[in-house]
Symmetry: C2
Subunit: 127 residues, 2 copies
């Protein structure tokens, strides 16, 4: 839900996937091919150090949001590279994006992170 991508009719539409809780716990039962693809794609987004630092920078910010202009100079990468990584994080549902005038502000999406954490959760205790 949310994030509607294309509305009702979506013919091909590779994604729609990423959204939401993402996946059942890896440890609970063997992942299907589709589940594995989806989860792997999510972790791939987190598998780059620059993206991790970008996300961390924004998620840990006391104001709760950060202007892109602030992070461009912090890490040792060019502006196009930073822009690229922010886009990847946004498309993965990890960052919310809001344009105000010339600037773009980013906020972390805690629910998305929680979804990934769920996938790493231990199985339900049996009694």
């Amino acid at each position: 839900m949310l994030e509607g991508t294309s509305t009702y009719v979506n013919m091909v539409t590779v994604d729609v996937k990423q959204i939401d809780v993402c996946c059942a716990p890896v440890v609970a039962s063997p992942l299907s091919d589709a589940e594995a693809e989806e989860l792997a794609a999510a972790f791939k987004v987190l598998s780059d150090p620059v993206r991790l630092r970008l996300f961390s920078l924004i998620a840990a910010d006391p104001e709760g949001e950060v202007c892109a202009c602030e992070v461009v100079d912090v890490l040792d990468r060019s502006q196009p590279t930073i822009s690229h990584h922010l886009k990847v994080l946004h498309e993965a549902g990890l960052l919310d994006r809001e344009k105000r005038g010339t600037w773009v502000w980013y906020r972390a999406v805690p629910a998305r992170l929680a979804g990934l954490r769920e996938a790493l959760s231990p199985p339900r205790r049996r009694r």
Copy 2:
């Protein structure tokens, strides 16, 4: 600690690094360069669908351990490819490895998964 890798003597052994809790929560404070590198490397291991299915297959097994010979035919990959992925998972500390005769048995390492889950945890509540 734990995770002794090969028993006492292990000569070359590139790692030793990865071990343990891995990283402070991403959301708590901005990651350092080193922390980001380490965490990214960990997530990279989980960013391949075949590896995820392999790990899931083993972690979800009721016996708690799985022979490599059982998983070779399950996924649609060659034996060298499966062997490669099992090695990556083992070196990342996600799988324990025990050779018995001709066969090799793998077990999931829950603590390692918990470490990664920690890194995705929300920050401590303030009061």
